[in-house]
């Protein structure tokens, strides 16, 4: 067994499920430029809009919820441990949880929907289905939720409170969230084209879930660092000078130690944020190619950080990163990689996410032997 680095956090396992399939299947499809987003009619919203969505199953506030069995299956693929018991904490993150069930219940659906309608009860249902013990923490801060969970997992390992940590993050689209983003006028029929200089912005939304096991046992992939910044400039806009993106980038740099990195950005398809992100990262990390996969997968909201990390790790294993599907030039900056590219010369990947309130998170993954 290889010696452990003091305080090092390794990924013992990392997997995702998207409408394109597993991490490997999703990676391959993204390299091929496959667009998972489809125009989907959404009921229950005035005007019956047709919205760009990437779904694992039809929109339906079913019982049991359509996210429950996929979560159970994904966890079953992870190393078997006494998850939720002492030294094996579980961190579950989402920005949606069972919100689909709450909306349906509010609109007159059956009483059984109530049991899944809050973050805590949704997680309790998952814990029961997966046989977790009591140490389950529920983490939720919009679209940085999964990366907050990854950070917290690293802290639990680093302080010796855990031997291993299971992180599960899931987000499934619903009329609740589709209606909200449509009301914000950024979820529309113009399919998202991250980092593309165009007249209107558009995001798509996607179902997805990711799962990882953090460990102190050495493996091929190490979480070399993470950084955060909360702008608090505006609930749904970034400071126009890009200072928020710059602040989180500067906090990441000490972890990079001069290594060559590529960047998986947040890149949802909104124009202002996409421009700020692309241009700031081009300046902060010159020579680091930038990609976004939300032009295909849609925005998987609170879970995007972990889902896209699983795909990024698969990319490193395969030696090639997908480009930025759905996005033609011109781009906001020269760092955007529209096509897939080789990863031989890179030591790691920085994974950025942003959220309401100007929240920013970044996680640095280094190849420790891949």
């Amino acid at each position: 067994m290889a010696p452990q680095q003091a305080g090092a956090v390794y990924l013992a396992a990392c997997q995702c499920t998207t409408p394109l399939g597993s991490a490997r299947e999703s990676w391959r499809a993204l390299c091929d430029g496959t667009i998972a987003l489809k125009p989907v009619p959404v009921e229950g919203i005035d005007g019956d809009p047709v919205l760009p969505l990437s779904l694992l199953s039809p929109l339906d506030a079913a019982l049991p919820p359509r996210w429950l069995e996929p979560c159970r299956q994904l966890v079953a693929d992870m190393p078997e441990r006494p998850w939720g018991e002492p030294k094996y904490p579980v961190l579950i993150s989402s920005s949606n949880f069972g919100i689909e069930q709450l909306l349906a219940f509010y609109r007159g659906g059956p009483a059984g929907l109530q049991a899944y309608s809050t973050p805590g009860t949704a997680v309790a249902a998952i814990a029961k289905a997966c046989g977790f013990g009591p140490d389950c923490t529920v983490i939720s801060n919009a679209c940085v939720s999964a990366q907050l969970a990854l950070h917290e997992g690293g802290v639990l390992l680093g302080t010796g409170l855990a031997e291993e940590v299971l992180i599960l993050s899931f987000d499934f689209v619903s009329p609740f969230v589709a209606g909200g983003f449509a009301a914000l006028k950024i979820l529309n029929g113009d399919f998202p084209r991250p980092y593309t200089d165009e007249e209107t912005g558009a995001i798509g939304l996607g179902d997805g879930l990711g799962c990882a096991v953090l460990s102190r046992e050495r493996s091929d992939f190490r979480i070399a660092g993470s950084a955060a910044h909360q702008e608090s400039y505006h609930m749904t806009a970034n400071a126009p000078d890009g200072s928020g993106f710059l602040a989180v980038s500067e906090r990441l740099k000490p972890f990079c130690r001069g290594q060559r990195i590529w960047i998986k950005g947040h890149g949802t398809g909104t124009l202002d944020a996409g421009k700020l992100e692309a241009q700031t990262l081009a300046s902060a990390f010159p020579g680091s190619p930038l990609v976004s996969w939300k032009g295909s997968l849609g925005h998987t909201l609170g879970s995007c950080g972990l889902i896209e990390m699983a795909i990024a790790i698969e990319a490193i294993c395969q030696g090639r990163s997908p480009g930025t599907p759905g996005s033609p030039s011109p781009f906001f900056a020269d760092n955007v990689a529209s096509r897939d590219f080789a990863l031989d010369e890179f030591d790691g990947v920085a994974l950025f996410s942003s959220a309401f309130g100007g929240a920013h998170m970044v996680t640095l993954i280094e190849n420790d032997g891949a």
Partner: protein
């Protein structure tokens, strides 16, 4: 063993509802444009933070089982014409973020927990005590909404509680919060420490020690 000094503590509530007069007074202490959309949970949070300085390098742990209940119910009620303002306020941590935006208050990391009440206290205290930041702010908050409350989908009252925890062991403090693992099979506390009870003890400056299965042993001792 992990220990931090408590250098600030403030509690608002619990109340079943904030009176219109009090709501008006609370709003008057905030920038006008930002304050007019704040619901009661955000006003309660703003109240406990009104004398608190937060540095941009501080961490903050927000602990709320149900978050912005009023914004959530307002958003649900707005269908089939979803309200963008209510949507963005209903997303978890939005109740706190609205206050941070009103104060134009950047910070390092906002951790946001949404455990059910039975485990919210040990999970959030653990997150706060073991934060990497020298200073971490813990904020507990809930909001009562009639429709959700009658169905057990939010808390029974509106309240907020703030604690500032500092890693540096020197200097004056209001008290001390500490954590240790339960190395032996010691009996846990007879019942979970629920958030509203915890905040009431903070308000009364009442010391507290409890063991929680799996999470460990916590104590809060006032100077």
């Amino acid at each position: 063993m992990m220990e931090r000094r408590i250098t600030a503590a403030s509690v608002y509530g619990p109340v079943s509802a904030i009176s219109p007069e009090e709501r008006k007074a609370m709003r008057s202490r905030l920038p006008r444009n930002a304050s007019r959309r704040l619901t009661d949970i955000s006003l309660a949070i703003a109240e406990v933070l009104k004398n608190v300085e937060i540095a941009s390098g501080d961490d903050l742990v927000f602990a709320s089982s149900w978050g912005a209940a009023t914004s959530l119910e307002t958003y649900l009620a707005s269908f089939p014409n979803p309200s963008p303002a209510s949507f963005q306020s209903s997303v978890h941590a939005g109740a706190l973020e609205a206050v941070l935006v009103a104060r134009q208050q950047p910070l390092r990391r906002l951790q946001s927990l949404a455990n059910l009440p039975e485990t919210l206290i040990p999970a959030s205290l653990r997150a706060g005590l073991f934060s990497c930041a020298a200073i971490v702010h813990l904020i507990f908050a809930e909001e009562y909404n009639p429709w959700l409350g009658e169905r057990g989908l939010c808390g029974d009252s509106t309240y907020a509680c703030h604690l500032r925890l500092e890693k540096d062991t020197e200097g004056e403090a209001l008290g001390k919060m500490s954590y240790s693992r339960m190395e032996t099979q010691a009996a846990p506390s007879p019942s979970p420490v629920l958030p509203e009870d915890f905040c009431a003890k903070v308000s009364r400056r009442e010391s507290l020690r409890f063991r929680y299965p799996v999470f460990g042993e916590f104590s809060l001792v006032w100077t």
